[in-house]
Subunit: 354 residues, 2 copies
């Protein structure tokens, strides 16, 4: 017997996303596609190679011609070469024929970007198979590939019309991947859902129903921020909590060493340091967050061997930066809440590096 599914709708002008969270949704893909695109004779398909080996897709309907491509596992797929291969594979589709992208955040990023740029936007269905993809990458429409100069520097906004998040697939992730994904769930809780924060205080969700509930609440937080500010110029920036220092750490260490969510956890702990210094939260509240993150299996301290030059450059603390301009940072407020502040000085930013 499967746990009860949940759904959430993200409303953007002319482009809504339905998010469905459940157990066993992987097997319902073709039926869901047929319901939404009854006239489609063809569709595109991109699947992460690791997911393909663990979760064989049910056979496609006989009357649906599938233009499929297997993606390199993980972050390796997020480059211009893979983007061009996907575009070439899907270029013959019409604008009422969807593409399906299956995998974690990286697969959804590159697959969604290809969908966005073929014929000025093919509709797409995201099948999320990691915690970070279910909580973060599938909602909000940001799609991208990496550039030699940095992560996600080439991209656009193109929300999927449907997200299927099958929590059964989380069973084949290793514990470290699940923990890293929970950093994004924790972040959303910390921004505006004290109830979810209390749930996460018990540690990682222990069964499918608990995963569905936590992910659903996290998606709801993100959905409201995205609806209010799709282009990331206002309140959506709250979702950058932990990401300023986090991104810099990823750049300094590389994603082999440090997962995105781990870097974000360290970044949240660092930002909380400045929040205490500015009297936005108490030292006890920061310590509570610290204990929460550790209970979820997340790091809060900087590795001893981090390349300080790269870290400082990524934070704009190197000499090349224009003097005088302040930094923008998201700071936690109280027990649950946050605020974007734009007057962080070089000295303040340097002081919070863990």
């Amino acid at each position: 017997m499967h746990a009860e599914p949940r759904s959430e709708r993200v409303e953007l002008p002319g482009r809504a996303t339905d998010v469905l969270l459940g157990e066993g949704l992987f097997g319902t893909l073709w039926a869901a596609l047929r319901t939404r695109f009854p006239a489609a004779q063809r569709c595109g398909l991109a699947i992460d190679e690791r997911v393909a080996s663990l979760w064989p897709l049910p056979p496609a309907p006989a009357d649906l011609h599938v233009l499929d491509l297997t993606l390199p596992a993980g972050e390796e797929a997020k480059d211009r070469d893979t983007l061009a291969r996907l575009q070439d594979r899907w270029i013959g589709l019409r604008r009422d024929e969807p593409v399906v992208v299956i995998g974690g955040g990286a697969a959804l990023d590159v697959g969604g970007f290809a969908a966005a740029t073929v014929r000025r936007g093919l509709p797409w269905i995201a099948v999320a198979t990691t915690v970070v993809a279910m909580a973060d990458a599938s909602v909000g429409g940001k799609v991208a590939v990496n550039h030699p100069r940095g992560k996600n520097l080439l991209g656009t906004f193109h929300p999927p019309s449907l997200v299927l998040s099958d929590v059964a697939t989380l069973g084949t992730l290793d514990a470290r991947e699940r923990s890293a994904g929970l950093a994004e769930v924790y972040k959303c809780a910390r921004l505006s859902d004290a109830g979810l924060l209390a749930v996460l205080r018990e540690g990682e969700p222990q069964d499918a129903a608990a995963w569905i509930d936590a992910l659903h609440r996290s998606v709801a937080v993100k959905a409201r921020l995205v609806e209010a500010d799709e282009r990331d110029e206002g309140v959506r920036r709250l979702l950058n909590y932990g990401h300023t220092v986090g991104h810099a750490l990823e750049r300094a260490l590389g994603n082999e060493r440090m997962r995105h969510g781990e870097a974000v956890a360290i970044g949240m702990h660092a930002a909380a340091g400045l929040a205490v210094a500015r009297d936005l939260m108490t030292a006890a509240q920061r310590e509570e967050q610290h204990a929460d993150l550790e209970r979820l299996g997340l790091p809060t301290a900087l590795p001893g061997d981090v390349d300080a030059v790269t870290l400082h450059r990524a934070l704009g603390l190197d000499k090349k930066r224009t003097a005088g301009a302040n930094h923008v940072l998201v700071l936690p407020v109280g027990a649950a809440g946050a605020r974007v502040v734009d007057d962080v000085t070089d000295a303040e930013l340097a002081s919070i590096l863990p």
Copy 2:
């Protein structure tokens, strides 16, 4: 003494475009950029090589670092290589630092697409230097490059924040380019501006003021359709008048042989044939359009040596196509007006090929 400038605003959710039409606007670029982006320390610049040789830019302000690139002239620029070169050149810009793209429709298409995809969208200023760019490419936000499988197959929507259309630059176009551009102006008039139609009945505009007036009215027609239907799923499709047969002709002949606007003129004459057969317009009204197009220096008859196989395939009249589905076509109605019809049969479509 310069002719009076005109302006038009295209309102899309969160992304308005101000269109300024005038004489001598080329020299005002840097001032316009500074007004809109007072804090920018850098900007991007892409300019068509032919335009660069004819219209030297005034020097940029000393406090503005310009990341510039010269584009191959015309359609040759619209490929993935040029797109990647632009992205690489502009990748370091921040989202409040604009790019400027100067040239005809091809330059605006590829430059706008690069702007759309760097950091999920840099703001951009279009400086249009051809009739087709002023009337069509600069309004509506469609940006794209070509793919070996067809024109404009890779692209997205990313309207410029400002369009500067300097009609002085039209003086260095040859007559054939001006005529081809007027096909798009005529099309907009035919859709919903009987007054503009009467103006064009006198032939090509004869001075700067007349060009500004005709282009302004044409832009206004397009702006209202784009505002009502940015994603091209409803009334915006009226702008495809003449384009179904026109695109097929371009594919069959290549753009060296036939300009886009010339193909559209032939396509409008062809569509009018079906409109007469369906009693949507009189034979006399079709003949009037025919005379109008000839007066503007535009062709209406198919060249004798067109590759019929390619033409039929591009129109979906080849055997590969699924039987039963009808074609969508824009048909002119009465003396000025048009309608999207979706029940055009194979036989009807084949019958109107000139």
